[in-house]
Symmetry: C2
Subunit: 632 residues, 2 copies
Amino acid sequence: MLKIALGQMEVIPGRPSDNFQTMLSIIQEARQHNCHMVIFPEMAIPGYLLGDTWEQPAFLRDCEYYGNKIIEASNHIIIVFGNVAVDWKKCGDDGRVRKYNAVFVAQNGQLQGADNFPYPFRIKTLLPNYREFDDTRHFFSLRKLAMERQEKLEDLLQPVTVQIDGKSCKLGCILCEDGWSDDYSISPIKLLQQNGPLNIIINISSSPYTLNKNNKRNRVFSEQARYAGVPLIYVNNVGLQNNGKTLYTFDGFSTVYNGQGDVVAYCPPFIALTQTITLDLQTKGLELPPITTPNDHDMKSIYTALRYGIEKFTAAIGIRRVVIGISGGIDSAVSAALYADILGPQNVLLVNMPSQFNSETTKGLAAELARNLGCLYTVMPIQETVDYTIKQISETPIINLADSSETKLSVSPFVTENIQARDRSSRILAGIAAAFGGGFTCNANKTETTVGYSTLYGDQSGFLAALSDLWKHQVYALAVYLNEQVFGRAVIPQRSIDIVPSAELSFEQAVDEGKGDPIIYPYHDYLFKSFMEHWHRATPEDILTWYKEGILEERIGCEPQVTKKIFATPADFINDLERWWKLYTGMAVAKRIQAPPVLAVSRRAYGFDHREAQNGPYYTAKYLAMKQELLQ
Amino acid sequence: MLKIALGQMEVIPGRPSDNFQTMLSIIQEARQHNCHMVIFPEMAIPGYLLGDTWEQPAFLRDCEYYGNKIIEASNHIIIVFGNVAVDWKKCGDDGRVRKYNAVFVAQNGQLQGADNFPYPFRIKTLLPNYREFDDTRHFFSLRKLAMERQEKLEDLLQPVTVQIDGKSCKLGCILCEDGWSDDYSISPIKLLQQNGPLNIIINISSSPYTLNKNNKRNRVFSEQARYAGVPLIYVNNVGLQNNGKTLYTFDGFSTVYNGQGDVVAYCPPFIALTQTITLDLQTKGLELPPITTPNDHDMKSIYTALRYGIEKFTAAIGIRRVVIGISGGIDSAVSAALYADILGPQNVLLVNMPSQFNSETTKGLAAELARNLGCLYTVMPIQETVDYTIKQISETPIINLADSSETKLSVSPFVTENIQARDRSSRILAGIAAAFGGGFTCNANKTETTVGYSTLYGDQSGFLAALSDLWKHQVYALAVYLNEQVFGRAVIPQRSIDIVPSAELSFEQAVDEGKGDPIIYPYHDYLFKSFMEHWHRATPEDILTWYKEGILEERIGCEPQVTKKIFATPADFINDLERWWKLYTGMAVAKRIQAPPVLAVSRRAYGFDHREAQNGPYYTAKYLAMKQELLQ
C-alpha cells in the first residue's frame, strides 16, 4: 500500500521563501500521517507566471537555495516537487543561462533519477507557447535537449525509480503540458512506457482555471491512466497568478485516477489543502470506488472563479476597500454586488455621479442597489465641472505664435460625452478612491471591451476590470445568480436587469424612451465572440460566407434567424459588420493597450492571450469580392 | 555577372494587398533594370508583428493568394520573397493549422527548390522567442520539422538551385534569426554548406532597429560571408510595426558582403528604395571595393529612429495634429520640439496648465519654448477645478446604508498632487485633443516609467509615449542635439536644460528654491537601467554585492564614487535601493499595464519585451543576509 499526500498548495508567484515555508509545513503534515510520498505542483517554489523575473540570476539562485532545503527535508519521505532547474554551464536559445521547467524527486536527502538521465531531475518535454503560456521564452525543453545531445527523445524519457517499503517503484514523472499532447506529434506518456512498465504516473501541474477545462482534463487524463493501466496522480496548485494584463486563477482540483481511468479522489477546487490517499499499486488502485466530480461549465463555476480571483488579487496588492461608480445599470450593479459579497459592504463605497442626462429611473435604481447591499453611498454630480470644462476649452483663446492670430476650439456633442465619462472616473472616482484608501473598479464587460465602447481615462479606468471576460449575456446571468444563489434576494433590482442598457451620456441615450447602446447584444455578443474567442478566429470573410450560406447563427452560436430580424438588406448587414470590425481592430486596440487588468474566466481573455497590434482593419481579397457580389 | 535588385520596401503590417502592390512595382523596376533577381524582406506580404492575426485562416488564405500572384509575376526574373507558408493538412503545437515563416524563390511562374526539400520553399530554422519576438507562438520551425520527420536537420538545410544565364546557381536561403545563431547549438549557415558549395547566401530579414544593432550585424554577417567564401546579401524592410504596447522601427540598412566579408554596398537606413548591384560570382564579388557604413550608436541614430517612428505611427493611426502639455521642464520641451519638427508647428498645440504651485520661471519657459517653435499656444489654469474637486470630495456626505450614519472624506496633500495631474491630462488635454481633432502626447521618460513616478490618468496618459525608452540623461542629450543639429538654434531654452527637474505639484517641489524630483538621475538612471536593460537583470542582491565590493559604479556604468557622495551610510544606501525596487516591481507595474505605447530605441523597451507580473517586490535569502551583515 502506498500512502500519498497531494499537496494542493497555494503557490505565491515570485515568492520562493513563502512557498518554501508552505511546503515545509505540508511535508510535516504528510510525515505525521505516515505518508510515503508527498507531491507538490509544478513550479511550487518560484511560481509560474513571473514574466522576465526568470532573467534574474539572483532569483534563480534563490530558487535553487530553497529547492535544496526541500531536498534536505526528505528524510523518510519521498518529495516530488516542481522547481526551475538551472544548468549554469549551458545556454538557452537566448544566450542566457539555461533553465528547465523540472520535476524533482527527493528521498532521504538525495535526488533520485540520475541513474538513467543526464540530470538528477526530469525536464518538461512540451513547452506550451500558446494562450497565456510563455514557456518557450524562458525554458529549454526536453525536445531541444534530445536534439542537442543527438539522442532519441524516447531514450531520455525515463522513469524515476524510488524505494518504497523495500520495493522498487517506477514513477513516470511528467509536467502539465506533457499530459496534453493531443496536438503534438509526440506523447511523452506513451514514450515513457516504451522504457518498461511504470508503477504510477505523476503529472505535476500549474494549470489555470478556464471554463470547462476540468471536464476535458478528466477525459484526457482518464484515457491516459487507462492506456497505461496504472494510477495517474494529477497535482495542481491553487492561487492567483498574472501576466500583468491578465489575471489567472488556479483551481487546483488535484485528481487521482486508477488504472482503469476512474476518478477515485479529488481535492475540491480553489482551496489550499493537503489530501492523503492510500493506493494499492498491486491492484492499480482498482480497489477504490469511482467517484464523480463537479461540473465546471456553469455560472456557479464562473462565480466561484471570479470571487476567488477578486479576493486574491485585492489581498495581493493590498486593496481592502473599493469605490464603485454605479449608474443604475447592470454592469456596475453586478460589480457592486460581487465586491460587497467579497470585501463586505462596509468596505465598498458606491458613488452615483449624475449629469443632466441621467434619468430619475437610473438614479433611483442606483440608490436602491446601495440600500439593498447596505454599502457606503454618496452622490456627486458632474454637471458643474463638465460645463466648466466645456467653457474653458471653448472660450480660452488659442494663439498661433507663427502669426499671433487667435482662434477658439469648439466642443461637439460627442466630445462632451467623453468629457463626462472622464470627469466621473479620472476626476471623481480616482480622487475619492485615494481619499478613501482604496482602488476604484472598472465595470466594463467583454462586449464593450471588444469594440472599445467606453471612454479612455473614463469608464474604462480602474485597478481591475473583473467582469471584462464576460459577454453581456453572461453579466445578466451572473446578476440572476447573485440574486438567487448568493444573496437569496433581489439585491440587484429587477429593473436594472430589465432596463435598456445605456451609457446615458446624451439625450440620444434616454432610457425612459427606450434608447440606449448601439450594440445589439443578442447578435453582437456572438459576432464579437467569433472574432475573439473562436479557436480559428473569424473575420469578415468568414462571417460574410456564413451569412451568404445561411449558416451564420449556427456558426456563431446565437439564436436562429437573428440577423434576418435585425438587418433588412445585405447592405445593412455589411455596414454593421464593417462598423464593428473597424472598431475591434482599430480604436479598441488602442484602448485595450491602456485598459486595466482583466480577470480571465473564458478560454480566451483579453490581454496576454490576445496578442494584438495597432494595425487597423483589413479586408481580404475574397471578402471584398463577396461584398461586391452581395451588393450588386 | 549577376544583377540583383535589393527590394528594401516598407512593409505595412497586416496589409497583404498593399504590400503586394509595392512588390509588383519593385519587380517592374527590377525588370526595367534588367536584373536577374529581386530580393524582398522576410514576411514581405503579411508583415511580421501581427499579434494573433496569424490565427485567422482567412488572413492566411489571403497571404497565399497574394503570394501566388507574386509567383506568377516571375517571368524572366527570379523573385526571392518572404511570406507565411501554410500546410493546411498539418498542425502546429497549438493544434491550429501549421504555419512556417518561409522564403520563396520563384522563376518563370514556378517555385524553385522542391527537388531536394519536402516543400517548394525554405523554412526558418531558428525562431526567436526572446525580446519582442514571438515566432514560436505562431510558426513551426525547421528544427521541429526535422524531429517530426526523424531526419537530420543538416539534410533538410538544402540550397535552392536556379538557372542564371544558362548556368546553375546555388542559393543558400535563410531567414533573419538563422544568421544570428551564436547562442544556439546549431548554425544554419554552416549546416547549409555541408551540402556542397553555395554560390551566394541570401538572408531575408524583418529586423527592427535597436541602438547599436547594425554594428554588431556587420561583424556577424561579415564573418559568415568570409567563412563561406561567397557573397552574402542581407535584405531588410523599413517601416513601423508594433506589438500593441511597443512600437518598433525597421531600419532596412540592407547590405551586401563579398566573399571576403567586406561590405560592398548598403541601402541607407529608414528609406524605402530599390538598389541594384552587379556581382561577379566567379570572383565572389571581390571586384567591388569595400565601403564603410555609418555608425548607429550615437544621438543622431536615436533621433533618426524617433523621428521616423513618430512620423510613421501618427500617419498610420491618422493623427495629424497633437496637443502637448508643456510645463517649462525638459521632457515636455523635447517632446514639443520633436513633434513640431515632424508635424509642423501649425499642427502642434502647446498647453500650459498652471496651478498655484507653478513658478513664474517655468511658466515663462513654457511660453518661451512655444514662441521659439512658433506653435499654437494656450494657457488653461487648473486651480479652480482642483479646488472644486477637493471641496466636492471632502464636503459631500458619505452615507453608511447599514446604519444611516454619515462621514466625510479628507483629501491629503499627496492626494491633491494626483488630482492636479489628472485634472491636466484627463480633463483638459484629453478634451482639447478631441476638440482640436488630434491626440495628446505622453512625455514620460524611461527613468520615470521604471518607478512609476507619474500619475495614472494624469501625466502618464497620452496616445504615445515617444520618449519613454530614453533615460533622463538621454533626454537631455536629445535636447542639445535638437537645438544644435536639428533646429540650429536654442528652441529649447537653455534654462529648461539647466533647471532642477520638478513636477511642481506642491511647495515641496519649488524649482526656484532648487527643490524637485526625488530621483537622483546621475545614479538612478544607471541603477534602474541595471534592473531593466541588463541582459542578466540586476536585483538588490547584485547591487548590494557590488556595493559591498566597491565595484557598483563600474558595473552599472555611472560616474565613479557617485554613491559615496549621495549616501552617508550603508543604511541610507539600502533604504534608497529598497524604495525604488519596491516601486519598480510594485506600483510601477500596475501603472505600466495602463501606460501608452512606447517607441523602442534601446536594447529593451517597456511593453512586450519586458514581460512582467504584478507580483510585488521580492528579496532573496542572500540579499537579506547581506543586508543584515551590512547594517550591523
